[in-house]
């Protein structure tokens, strides 16, 4: 009998606390900010903010490339590829526009590039990527306008010729890095190459 009274008292206290909680206001604060979950490393000159940096080595910013000169048969892009799991080298026809860690005009301005996200781009060395006038030696692929996910084709090579790179134009290049889940994790600065 005593046990029963004791347990009933406990039950009443439990339910009373529930009644009190009914009168309390609900906490409706709920935010999802993908950007805030990313790396805190934030050099202001990176193409995309709040990502870890990738160091570009060459060509240096504003370097000239003389497309007619026979001795200059290739353009070599070098960068430090040690940080990200996956990386993509992009060539743009215009300065990329960005908003909230997205390149908003990427599709429209993409000239070509190469990535290690697919084995179909195999055969290139991430530290030294060559753009040549010959399909058999160039490492670059053209951009893919038919895919919602893939930036580059896997079967159309991009070569250094005046059709793709007119004289007196400016070429912009940058590297983006990705983690194991294919999410952006790294970015380089943007550099220019002046085509002469």
């Amino acid at each position: 009998m005593l046990n029963s009274y004791f347990i009933h008292t406990l039950l009443v206290l439990f339910t009373l606390s529930n009644v009190i909680s009914c009168a309390l206001p609900e906490d409706e604060t709920k935010t999802t900010d993908i950007g805030s979950q990313q790396s805190a490393i934030n050099p202001p000159t990176l193409l995309l903010k709040n990502l870890a940096p990738i160091k570009l080595i060459s060509p240096s910013n504003g370097e000239a490339y003389y497309i007619d000169e026979k001795e200059q048969t290739s353009l070599n892009f070098k960068y430090d590829s040690s940080a990200p799991i996956y990386s993509s080298l992009f060539l743009f026809s215009e300065q990329p526009a960005t908003l909230d860690n997205v390149i908003t005009n990427g599709k429209e301005t993409c000239l070509g590039g190469v990535t290690n996200m697919t084995t179909l781009h195999a055969g290139w060395t991430p530290t030294k990527v060559e753009l040549t006038a010959d399909e058999s030696t160039t490492d670059f692929f053209t951009c893919n306008n038919n895919s919602t996910t893939d930036a580059f084709t896997v079967d159309n090579k991009l070569v250094m010729d005046e059709t793709s790179f007119p004289k007196d134009s400016t070429l912009y290049w940058a590297i983006l890095g990705y983690d194991a889940k294919f999410k952006l994790s790294h970015a380089s600065v943007i550099r220019k190459v002046n085509i002469k």
């Binding site: 029963s4 009443v12 930036a151 983006l176 889940k181």
Partner: protein
């Protein structure tokens, strides 16, 4: 005003369940036939939505008896309901590995019309709510993408109590849960590209389920 909004129904329902339960000891005392029990159970709950997996469920119950009727409060926890999904990434397909943890509270009603010596079959029903939390298994990204995480459920119960007259008894129970108000609503990634664009979509899930539990009761 949307009368089917889950959040508007949750609080009144919890309050109603609480008030009804507060009256039970008074009813029991009035009948002078008072007893109650505490029970612990475990089992498997299988959702009818095939995007969610079966997962173990653990229950805790406090109940009072008024003659052949038992009324109680039940709390349950369902652990790691797998809710993985695939989405498109550059040149590949990726799996977002996730699971749900489901916390529930129900008002439980049971009737034991037959006493067959060592066993007592019972039937009844329940009504209450579930609150869902989502966890990412191997990545901190895109976590907590539930836009609706509260659901009201109700359904029938069928069970068997073994050695019902002692201080310690065992039970076997089957429950069918029907979603009454609300949906589980998630924001899912459909694709991500190399420029940083992430495309998402919203999908509704229902928590209709069948569960089988076994456990023991302490009868006071």
């Amino acid at each position: 005003m949307n009368i089917f909004s889950t959040t508007q129904w949750i609080k009144p329902s919890i309050c109603l369940v609480t008030i009804v339960y507060l009256l039970l000891p008074i009813l029991a005392i009035a009948e002078n036939d008072r007893d109650f029990h505490i029970s612990f159970g475990a089992g498997l709950k299988s959702p009818s939505d095939d995007r969610l997996s079966s997962a173990p469920e653990f229950t805790f119950q406090l109940a009072s008896s008024v003659k052949a009727m038992q009324v109680g409060l039940e709390g349950s926890y369902q652990h790691k309901v797998s809710s993985n999904y695939k989405y498109a990434v550059p040149y590949n397909q990726e799996t977002d590995k996730r699971n749900l943890r489901i916390y529930s509270g129900f008002l439980v009603l049971r009737i034991s019309p037959w006493h067959l010596g060592y066993v007592t079959p019972y039937l009844g029903g329940f009504f209450g709510g579930s609150y869902v939390l989502e966890k990412s298994v191997d990545s901190p990204y895109f976590e907590d993408d539930l836009s609706e995480d509260k659901v009201l459920l109700a359904g029938p119960t069928l069970g068997l109590e073994i050695l019902p007259n002692g201080f310690f008894s065992l039970f076997l129970e089957a429950k069918k849960s029907f979603q009454v108000v609300g949906n589980l609503q998630r924001s899912l990634i459909t694709s991500s590209d190399q420029f940083g664009n992430v495309v998402k979509t919203t999908e509704n899930y229902d928590l209709n389920a069948m569960s089988f539990n076994a456990g023991f009761r302490l009868n006071f």
